[in-house]
């Protein structure tokens, strides 16, 4: 049973991107791309050849592969509903956070390897914002883990399985804070709108998009698929905190899937009604997310 979350993630992740795009199109009064457009894009790119600049080294080629590999292993750690994840052990939430960080490190290294000043700028912003997002993620996970079981060092599967209606009734406030903090981290990590605009191709304002400008063909397909998986896996983290589990696996899987789609629609709505924040305000947003996580943690530890 424990391979179901991984299969679902591998299959449905690009659909989430399509769903977000469709919501944005509806808000903009357009018909929008087909919902399956991300799959077509990835398929098309996989059949193209890659072009490598002569100034780049193996770091540039390793970037997309290592990033995708890191996200794939992180996906294998992520449960859905009360269905356990493929790999699960005590403390895997720290591995989860650092697998994503490893992927980010290689994306940044590949961007720096091109020697393009624009990509260097995007890389520096990416590293800056992820530095601020990481404490919010880890402290929030620690707060929920402490609430659910009583020790911060447990597995993601156990955390998700302990988010029950009773936990919500007992300490909904902590879960709400952590969920809001995670939503901010989610928007920042996936380069979504209050932090970064996934549609803009104006180098001066971009963060994630600018780092992958020089990748082409299958490499770019890996990057797109990795980004979709990251969108899915961090989304599953939020949904796991928010959607209470009943204990029946089928019902939990169904409610979690609905939760994922609701999250995608929510992200689409946020992108449609908000503008991108100034870069200086983004750090404030992420430190605010950390403050919410710390608040959840101290509310949990108060004696």
């Amino acid at each position: 049973m424990n391979f179901i979350p991984l299969i679902l993630a591998l299959g449905i992740a690009p659909f989430m991107v399509g769903l977000i795009n469709r919501v944005k199109a509806i808000f903009g009064g357009r018909q929008g791309q087909p919902l399956l457009q991300p799959y077509y894009d990835i398929w098309k790119l996989l059949h193209k050849g890659a072009v490598y600049s002569r100034t780049t080294s193996w770091v540039f080629r390793a970037g997309p592969i290592v990033t995708l590999a890191g996200v794939l292993v992180a996906t294998a750690l992520m449960p859905l509903g009360s269905c356990p994840s493929l790999i699960s052990f005590s403390g895997d939430l720290i591995l989860f956070a650092y697998l994503l960080a490893l992927g980010r490190f290689f994306t940044v290294a590949a961007a720096l390897d091109t020697g393009s000043p624009f990509e260097g700028m995007g890389a520096s912003r990416e590293v800056f914002f992820s530095t601020l997002a990481e404490p919010a993620l880890l402290l929030g996970l620690a707060a929920v883990a402490k609430k659910a079981i009583g020790t911060p060092l447990i597995s993601l599967t156990e955390i998700h399985q302990h988010v029950t209606p009773e936990l919500w009734a007992g300490s909904g406030l902590i879960l709400v804070f952590v969920a809001i903090a995670f939503l901010l981290v989610y928007l920042a990590e996936n380069s979504r709108i209050p932090v970064d605009d996934p549609n803009t191709h104006l180098e001066l304002t971009m963060i994630h998009e600018v780092m992958v400008l020089d990748h082409s063909g299958p490499d770019f397909a890996f990057i797109l698929y990795g980004a979709a998986l990251k969108l899915w896996v961090l989304g599953a983290l939020i949904v796991g905190m928010v959607v209470p589990n009943t204990g029946y696996m089928v019902i939990d899987l169904a409610t979690s899937l609905v939760g994922m789609f609701v999250l995608a629609v929510l992200v689409g709505v946020i992108e449609s009604v908000m503008g991108r924040l100034r870069l200086l305000r983004v750090s404030q947003l992420l430190v605010g997310a950390t403050a919410l996580s710390v608040l959840a943690l101290v509310l949990e530890y108060r004696g």
């Binding site: 404030q284 430190v287 605010g288 710390v294 101290v298 509310l299 108060r302």
Partner: protein
């Protein structure tokens, strides 16, 4: 009832953070007003004999004074001073949130070993840490902002803190003391508003940093 009281106390903590974070002065005025009004509901929830006419009176007066009169006074001086943002605070807005996190941790740690008089049980275990965190946030706002208006806001946060402490520990404050404190604060805000008006008219700004030199 305690659950609702805790939600109010956590709301106070959140408004402390938004006050530290926001550069826009009108947002700060609204935040501190919201903090005061929501706190006015606290005695209704924790009073020993349940909500009575007297407690409703206190809540209503708090609503009028902190929710309507203070914001009106402050918005008036904001218009006179002709400023929208605090653009160059002494400590930046992101750094102030980090300080706020530090304050939060220190207050929870410190009050966990705070000796209380025997037989005095606070309404909720959150009362003491929230009171200490609000106190420190109010002082911090006064110290790290340059504009005179933000210092009035910090003063109002301090007043809200006294209210948390009093109601949380004594379950209810005598009506006379509560009204006395409100009158004091009202006069103080009024006087500070007049002072700000004179400062902005004489110097064309309300930056207190530039008031350090004495001249004829």
């Amino acid at each position: 009832m305690t659950a609702f009281a805790e939600i109010i106390l956590v709301f106070v903590l959140l408004t402390n953070f938004t006050l530290l974070a926001s550069a826009r002065l009108s947002t700060c005025i609204r935040q501190v007003a919201a903090q005061g009004v929501v706190l006015g509901l606290l005695p209704l929830l924790v009073g020993p004999e349940g909500p009575g006419a007297r407690l409703f009176l206190v809540a209503a007066v708090m609503l009028v004074v902190k929710g309507i009169v203070f914001p009106k006074l402050l918005f008036r001086s904001l218009r006179n001073a002709n400023v929208v943002h605090e653009s160059t605070p002494i400590v930046g807005h992101t750094a102030s949130i980090v300080l706020g996190i530090g304050i939060l941790i220190v207050s929870f740690w410190f009050t966990s070993r705070f000796p209380l008089p025997a037989g005095q049980q606070p309404v909720s275990t959150l009362v003491l840490p929230v009171a200490l965190a609000t106190l420190l946030s109010g002082f911090l706002l006064i110290v790290i902002r340059r504009l005179a208006l933000m210092q009035v806001v910090g003063y109002l946060v301090l007043e809200n803190d006294i209210f948390v402490f009093g109601v949380g520990l004594a379950h209810e404050e005598p009506l006379l003391i509560e009204m006395g404190i409100l009158l004091d604060v009202f006069v103080a805000v009024l006087v500070m508003g007049i002072a700000m008006f004179h400062i902005s008219r004489t110097f064309d700004h309300i930056d207190v940093d530039q008031l350090s030199q004495l001249r004829d």
